[in-house]
């Protein structure tokens, strides 16, 4: 299967790869997928005043899964929480030119964003 140039670029030069400490203030963590399915994404956001100031990811999965999560962190940075909620998997499909068999990678990335946002909200409410 041929990969788009953008997928290859994100795969070779992943943006924002790494981790924040989960318990750190303002950090929301989303972990989605399962090893048996061949992909697990961990996506983290760091929030200040309702704005995402930093984002990181770690992904176990194919090149398209890695590219989808790398792209997601790039897009998340600088967005407000409300704007981040609006990121759709179809935006990722379009940007990375993903073929039909790889759409689930973009769905997983959207799920990871939602999970990270939810985790942040939960932590903020419990404070």
């Amino acid at each position: 299967m041929a990969y788009s140039d953008k997928v290859v670029d994100h795969f070779n030069n992943p943006r924002n790869m790494g981790s924040f400490k989960k318990e750190e203030d303002g950090v929301g963590t989303g972990m989605v997928g399962a090893p048996e399915c061949g992909d697990v994404m961990k996506l983290q956001i760091k929030v200040q005043n309702d704005t995402i100031v930093d984002a990181k990811f770690k992904t176990f999965g194919c090149g398209s899964a890695i590219a989808s999560s790398s792209l997601a962190t790039e897009w998340l940075k600088g967005k407000t929480l409300e704007e981040a909620q609006k990121i759709k998997n179809t935006d990722i499909v379009q940007e990375l030119n993903l073929p039909p068999v790889k759409i689930h990678c973009s769905v997983l990335a959207e799920d990871a964003i939602k999970a990270a946002l939810a985790d942040y909200q939960k932590k903020a409410e419990n404070k």
């Binding site: 990969y3 290859v8 795969f11 992943p14 790869m17 981790s19 972990m31 989605v32 997928g33 399962a34 090893p35 048996e36 399915c37 061949g38 992909d39 697990v40 994404m41 961990k42 770690k58 992904t59 176990f60 999965g61 194919c62 090149g63 899964a65 890695i66 068999v101 689930h104 769905v107 997983l108 799920d111």
Partner: protein, 405 residues
């Protein structure tokens, strides 16, 4: 070193230049139809075909008359299974095969089952991919007409105890078909000693051309009969009609001749390079697991799972090396390798597997480059893997509640 490096010799092999040379006259100059009995063009073609038949038969210790040419091993498997089932339907309709057979066998038995023409027993394999001959014996009923077990597995290279299975088949009076596509030309094959009644193999796995294969059909003790699946002209003693592809057959013959002459030296060389590749990778990378049998396997095969990284991403990180993976993402089915699953390899490790297939034209320099590259990419992707991070933190991944999707 020339890039990309080809380390996928189980999928196909480059043609040996000596094979090409042998084939060339049979396209333009010597173009006759081997079935033309009444002129020199036909005689010339027929002679070339019969020479090839001898070369092929010699490699597997058969009689030339027992070689039936086909388009490849897939057709040979189809012809063997369907041909026997149709011919021996009065005797029974039960087939015994194994869980790790090639799709050419499994898809055929599935299709025959779906049509209600047969009942099939799929034998399990052990952790190293081997069929237990005792299981074969136990599965035989008075309705069993065929046992079909492969010689060498195409993913993990494990060799089956074919000789013992052949003995059981003979004792019970059941025919034995062996898909030997990966084994012929690589390891010694003797259809007499192994008790094989039908055997499928093809040219392009042994440095010959694509588009030609053979089915060995035993002529005596017992005389095996199969119902033709392609009619029209009665070529190949009525078992497989169609004009013979003379240049391809000439190439197939030459490829077999070279294998016969060079097998001992070549397999020693391949095993040595394979062992170097295996040692180089596994010594440097923790939690890398060998799939298949540690010793009883094809000389050029190496299949390793790298925990915490996914196979397709590994291949993507090594684009200058042609390899194959058991990961679902590289297959059309979105299921990871059924062969590895049959060995009891966990789904996550099946997703993480890479198959290295060494062949005649690989060099030590290429092997050393591959070792370096594999270590580099596995290390890089583990740094990127949340599973590796969790494992390092001491989290038991099996205890985690994953949100399956």
């Amino acid at each position: 070193m020339k890039f990309p490096i080809f380390l996928d010799n189980h999928s196909t092999t480059p043609m040996d230049p000596r094979v090409l040379e042998a084939m060339l006259p049979y396209f333009v100059e010597k173009f006759g139809n081997a079935a033309s009995r009444n002129h020199a063009f036909g005689w010339e073609a027929e002679e070339a075909v019969e020479t090839a038949r001898k070369q092929i038969a010699r490699l597997i210790k058969a009689d030339p008359k027992e070689i039936v040419f086909t388009s490849g091993a897939t057709e040979s498997d189809n012809l063997a299974l369907k041909g026997v089932l149709e011919m021996y339907k009065e005797k029974g309709n039960h087939i015994i095969t194994s869980a790790t057979e090639h799709r050419a066998v499994l898809d055929t038995t599935k299709s025959l089952e779906a049509k209600g023409l047969t009942t099939v027993t799929y034998l399990p394999v052990d952790k190293q991919g081997m069929v237990n001959p005792q299981d074969v014996r136990n599965a035989i009923t008075d309705k069993t007409i065929l046992i079909s077990v492969m010689l060498a597995n195409n993913e993990i290279g494990t060799l089956n105890p074919v000789q013992e299975i052949g003995k059981i088949a003979k004792e019970k009076g059941v025919l034995f078909h062996c898909d030997a596509t990966q084994g012929v030309g690589k390891i010694p094959v003797d259809v007499q000693a192994m008790g094989i009644d039908l055997m499928s193999f093809s040219a392009h796995k042994i440095y010959g051309p694509k588009g030609v294969g053979a089915l060995y059909v035993r002529k005596k003790n017992p005389r095996v009969r199969i119902a033709a699946q392609i009619d029209g002209g009665g070529h190949e003693r009525g078992m497989r009609s169609g004009t013979l592809p003379v240049p391809l057959i000439v190439g197939f013959g030459k490829a077999c001749e070279i294998c016969e002459q060079e097998m001992a030296a070549e397999s020693a060389h391949l095993s040595k390079m394979r062992d170097r590749l295996q040692a180089g990778i596994m010594a440097a990378l923790e939690e890398s697991y060998l799939n298949g049998h540690p010793t009883h396997r094809l000389p050029g095969n190496l299949n390793i799972s790298f925990a915490y990284v996914e196979g397709e991403s590994l291949l993507m990180g090594m684009k200058e090396i042609a390899l194959s993976s058991g990961s679902a993402c590289t297959s059309a089915t979105l299921e990871p390798s059924y062969v590895l699953r049959a060995l009891g390899v966990g789904t996550e490790l099946a997703h993480s597997s890479i198959r290295f297939g060494l062949g005649r034209f690989n060099t030590e320099e290429e092997i050393d480059y591959t070792i370096k590259k594999v270590i580099e990419i596995v290390t890089k992707l583990r740094e990127m893997s949340p599973l590796y991070e969790m494992a390092k933190e001491g989290v038991d991944l099996k205890s985690v509640q994953w949100a399956a999707h």
